[in-house]
């Protein structure tokens, strides 16, 4: 069932209750608002007493509500705010509104050409149907360490533009999630957009994840690498991000250091693999064992760095 029809069902239930269709039923606990401006959205969230959720694609929030994991008092739908639905070119990079769907990003040719690594992550979110609604902002704010779009956003240096009751601030995306399900956003704060800065010359990014299934699965390990080469093919800058191996997505300096100053040869890749494995602080759970995650993080880090290297060399 699509999120909109689920909402419709809830709305009908609420209506039935209000009109006393069924005697004695109390008013439902859930309120739904769809403001037309960001200021109104912030105001509504700031004023609410209980649990609130921002509704973008709804692919996490609605599922969590249906399975009784959360019972929010207020849902603020941000899809009616026009500015949040645009992808705009900015200083050689792109600004992506918080209500832009994954599919909208995948259909944006210039964005795909400039940030193939980010798009690799975006493409892996859910199914085609889910991607039609899901947003990268939602993927980030759900604060799952396994979110596929987050590691490549981190390595691309994405900055979230956050608006709240006390004004606006820019926050690197890796600082948004603080633990599973929790973000650093204050009450009333909303991510308005992400800024993906222009990639350096001779740089390349890539993302891969490990899942037992080919799709419709959650990363057991996810690795993103972004690296920049000089004219001699030496790596001058690198960012390596690991997903699903710690309570939050990690940005690993040790992994980056394994690549910087090298030609990303076999020895550097082995060092990267070791650093990636060492960076992991995973748990045993239904999706994979600790031991397995640590091993596969190293394997994937090598594969992803090779892909990023190809892109930096303009092979890919």
């Amino acid at each position: 069932m699509s999120p909109s029809s689920l909402l419709a069902r809830r709305a009908i239930r609420a209506m039935m209750a209000r009109t006393n269709f069924n005697e004695g039923v109390e008013m439902p606990d859930l309120r739904y608002e769809a403001p037309g401006s960001l200021a109104d959205a912030v105001k509504a969230l700031a004023a609410a007493g209980g649990l609130t959720r921002i509704l973008a694609g709804g692919t996490d929030v609605i599922v969590q509500m249906e399975t009784d994991l959360i019972e929010p008092e207020l849902l603020v739908d941000i899809k009616k705010i026009p500015a949040l639905r645009n992808i705009t070119a900015e200083n050689g990079g792109f600004r992506i509104g918080a209500a832009v769907s994954a599919m909208q990003m995948m259909d944006h040719a210039a964005l795909c050409a400039t940030f193939p690594g980010v798009i690799e992550g975006v493409k892996l979110i859910g199914s085609i149907q889910v991607k039609g609604r899901a947003t990268v902002a939602g993927n980030l704010c759900n604060a799952s360490p396994g979110a596929d779009s987050v590691p490549p956003m981190v390595t691309a240096g994405a900055i979230a533009h956050v608006v709240g009751p006390n004004g606006a601030r820019d926050v690197p995306v890796e600082q948004i999630p603080v633990s599973p399900g929790k973000t650093s956003l204050a009450k009333g704060e909303i991510i308005e957009s992400f800024f993906l800065p222009a990639p350096a010359r001779n740089s390349g990014g890539a993302y891969q994840r490990f899942t037992p299934r080919t799709e419709m699965d959650i990363a057991v390990v996810g690795i993103a690498v972004n690296l920049t080469l000089d004219a001699g093919g030496v790596c001058t800058a690198a960012r390596v991000s690991l997903g699903a191996v710690a309570p939050t997505v990690l940005l690993s300096k040790e992994c980056a250091d394994a690549l910087i100053g090298t030609k990303v040869d076999e020895a550097a890749l082995d060092k990267l693999a070791a650093a990636a494995s060492a960076a992991c602080r995973p748990i045993d759970d239904k999706r994979g064992t600790k031991e397995f995650r640590i091993k596969v993080a190293g394997v994937l880090a090598k594969r992803v760095a090779q892909k990023a290297l190809e892109r930096a060399r303009h092979i890919a």
Binding site: E66, P212, E215
Partner: protein
């Protein structure tokens, strides 16, 4: 009078017009357009929503349940607990059934229902559930069947004593329901004759049937106590009889209408919501609808048995298998019902083996009660057997199919369970496998190929049905056997072949339990075979009647009329020069002859033909991550006669996909606390479309002479060797043959490292 069972009239030389074609299923249109009414699509005016309160503990005594606050929630019309169900002695069939529906003395798994609420809205019901107070005394739990057999294991039922043991062991409190020995010859002596002995220990985890339609029902109770039930089921009559037993109702006071079925695979042979919805409806005096969520389906309905087995096999240098010794353990959830006896009967039935010893155990544990799944308990043990068979062939340097051919059974084989086979097609199936394109193609570099064979009995049993001829010459068929896979269309096709008319002039429908006599559950791959017998028998009765009517209309003796291609004709020119009478010509004039023309048939159908399959699988394995890719998959199987080849292929392909899931990723993951960790399709990893290749099929047709059209069941055979074949392929690819399911990447990566350390790849 000779019955169709004695004289099915199978004719090997007959050329069919309809049978063997694959027309679009009549029920297919509604399914692809969304008009088909599944159980949850039903609606009754004034109906209430029923919801469960489930146990948060895997094993606990229920000390107290207080529903007084819940009953006061506005909109709540009824709250029921164990107190609302008739008391039936624990440890009996009915006692187990009522306790699965609603916990009584104890809860036995996380998710065991302890109460249910019927309310005007779902939110009111949920509010009430939160206000039900249940006091538990939590007990230690046990889920693993091997652990559950230990002397120090927590005991689930104080009353349980092991069936099939003697002496002091028979008096002990235990979790072992039954010990069953099924043997022939002398296994110990047999191994003395063996030149090669191989053995292994195997384990498999509980997995779910994975039907897409969650269980749903509506119960409505009239003021005089008449119960109307609409539900998705493979077994309307079985539900009726068991519901009447546990709710103390007369069978005549309950009518069950089966809905369109959105998948069952054996999982809808047992009821869950139905008794609870009836009791809620009785108490609330309004219809109650209960629909499980996906989480509840995984947590509350029955996955298959997890197993642990030790198997030893021995053969001579020429490949003759001479002895087998097997110990098999089956996990059944808190109550018996795993159908584990299938396993020792079927595990080796395809090979001629003189000396066999098998000892099987059924063990209770704190997980949802087992439910059937295609060939219950057999694929889990074939997983071990066919691994050893492949190992023997490999060690002797014999071709995998030749080795199996050397031991293959033929007509006249007496099985370990006492049946003597008439015509069977195992040898023909092996031959077809050996000559198929897949087997003849070289194994692609870096991949592994696995072969495995399987068998399933196929069943018959009590079946009833009827058929009515309409004045326009079209026919309606009324069936009682649930249609889990397109059997209605196969029935229409068999009738069309009998009458010699286009299949579009015939429609098959499913009756409610008041409209026909008793029908056994759709299970055991029995439905197309058994109801097919009923349909052909009914059609032949109608044809005989048509001839009688034509004779009457022409005023000639009955034997002067023959029926062919939908028309009655004079048997010869001597009878008279009458233009043929169509079915419509006769049916439209029944008012002037002897009234409506109908056929019906009731039988305890016998003569089901056993089925055999060979699976050929190619896989590649990512040696750094343990990820398996199934690259090519071919199923070769004897269908006897494929009524609709497309539907038979669908059965093969669906089984392969379920086998791939079971082999690679599907498992119930329980935490230390006994709670299910992956109750949802996100983490209960069934394969998605892109995980499986196109499954190729080769339909072998060695007719079952006991059926008018020669057919054999095809629903279960194709799952039996699936995991064995995939594991054999993985073993070839990595150097060590896996012995534990699922072959998930973490497990496989360890095995790959072990193989590397031993220099095996």
């Amino acid at each position: 009078m000779t019955t169709i069972l004695e004289k099915p009239g199978y004719n090997p030389d007959k050329k069919y017009k309809i049978i063997g074609t694959s027309p679009v299923k009549h029920d297919g249109f509604d399914k692809v357009t969304g008009r088909a009414k599944f159980a949850a699509d039903a609606f009754l005016p004034g109906m209430l929503v029923g919801k469960y309160l489930r146990s948060p503990h895997a094993h606990a005594i229920i000390k107290r349940i207080d529903i007084s606050k819940a009953e006061k929630v506005p909109g709540v019309k009824a709250v029921v607990t164990r107190d609302d169900f008739p008391e039936i002695k624990a440890g009996t069939g009915g006692g187990d059934m009522t306790r699965i529906a609603m916990a009584r003395e104890k809860v036995y798994w996380e998710g065991h229902p302890v109460a249910a609420v019927a309310a005007t809205t779902e939110s009111a019901a949920k509010k009430a559930l939160k206000l039900i107070e249940v006091e538990y005394e939590v007990l230690p739990h046990v889920i693993d069947p091997v652990q559950a057999m230990r002397d120090d294991a927590p005991i689930l039922h104080d009353y349980l004593r092991t069936k099939g043991v003697k002496g002091p062991a028979a008096e002990k409190k235990t979790n072992v329901v039954e010990r069953l020995e099924l043997s022939k010859g002398d296994a110990a002596k047999g191994f003395e004759k063996a030149d090669l002995i191989v053995e292994g220990s195997y384990d498999t985890k509980p997995m779910h049937q994975g039907y897409i339609e969650p269980q749903s029902c509506i119960a409505s109770v009239s003021d005089d106590g008449q119960v109307d039930l609409w539900c998705c089921t493979q077994a309307p009559w079985v539900y009726r009889d068991r519901l009447t037993e546990i709710l103390k109702l007369d069978s005549s006071k309950i009518r069950i209408q089966q809905s369109e079925l959105g998948g069952g695979f054996g999982g809808k042979t047992t009821f869950y919501t139905e008794p609870v919805a009836i009791v809620l409806a009785q108490k609330a005096k309004a219809p109650v609808k209960m629909t499980l969520t996906r989480v509840e389906v995984l947590r509350g309905t029955g996955p298959v048995s997890g197993t642990a087995s030790k198997i030893k096999m021995g053969c001579k240098k020429d490949g003759t298998i001479v002895a087998v010794d097997a110990e098999l353990i089956f996990q059944t959830g808190p109550y018996t019902g795993s159908a584990f006896t299938n396993a020792p009967q079927a595990m080796l039935t395809r090979y001629e083996i003189e000396n066999v010893k098998t000892v099987s155990y059924e063990v209770v544990s704190n997980r949802p009660k087992v439910s059937s799944f295609r060939a219950p308990c057999v694929p889990q043990v074939v997983f071990g057997v066919e691994g050893l068979v492949s190992e023997m062939a490999k060690k002797l340097g014999m071709d995998q199919i030749d080795f199996r051919m050397k031991n293959a059974i033929v007509e006249g084989h007496k099985t370990i369970y006492g049946e003597t086979f008439t015509k069977i097609g195992f040898v023909e199936t092996l031959q077809a496998a050996k000559t198929c394109d897949h087997y003849r193609s070289p194994v692609p570099a870096g991949q592994g190929r696995g072969i495995a064979c399987g068998f399933w009995f196929n069943r018959g049993g009590e079946t009833t049905g009827s058929m009515a001829l309409a004045p326009d010459g079209t026919l309606n068929i009324i069936l009682g056997t649930a249609d889990v896979a397109g059997s209605r269309m196969s029935m229409s096709m068999m009738a069309a072949e009998e009458f010699g008319i286009p299949v579009d002039r015939i429609r098959s429908q499913l009756a409610d339990t008041n409209s026909l006599g008793y029908n056994r559950v759709t299970a055991g791959s029995r439905t197309t075979f058994s109801s097919g017998m009923i349909v052909v028998d009914s059609a032949r009765k109608i044809i005989a009647e048509l001839c009688r009517r034509a004779a009457k209309m022409w005023n000639v003796p009955e034997e002067g009329v023959v029926f062919e291609d939908g028309h009655c004709r004079p048997a010869s020119s001597n009878v008279g020069d009458f233009p043929p009478l169509s079915m419509k010509d006769i049916a439209s004039k029944t008012t002037y002859t002897m009234g409506a023309i109908c056929g019906h048939s009731e039988m305890n159908v016998t003569g089901a033909g056993p089925g055999f399959a060979v699976h050929i699988v190619d896989v590649d394995v990512d040696k750094e991550t343990g990820l398996v890719g199934v690259k090519r998959y071919t199923i070769v199987e004897d269908a006897g006669k494929a009524i609709s080849p497309l539907q038979v292929e669908g059965q093969f392909q669906g089984a392969a996909v379920q086998g791939i899931g079971w082999a690679l990723n599907e498992e119930y993951v329980f935490g230390e606390d006994g709670k299910l960790q992956n109750a949802g399709f996100l983490d209960y990893r069934m394969p998605v479309a892109s995980d499986v290749p196109m499954i190729d099929t080769v339909i072998v047709e060695v007719a079952n002479p006991k059926h008018p059209y020669g057919l054999r069941g095809v629903g279960e055979v194709p799952l039996t060797p699936a995991m064995a074949a995939i594991a054999n392929a993985v073993g070839e690819a990595i150097g060590i043959r896996p012995t534990s399911l699922p072959m998930s990447p973490p497990k496989l990566l360890k095995l790959i490292e072990q193989a590397k350390a031993q220099g095996l790849n």
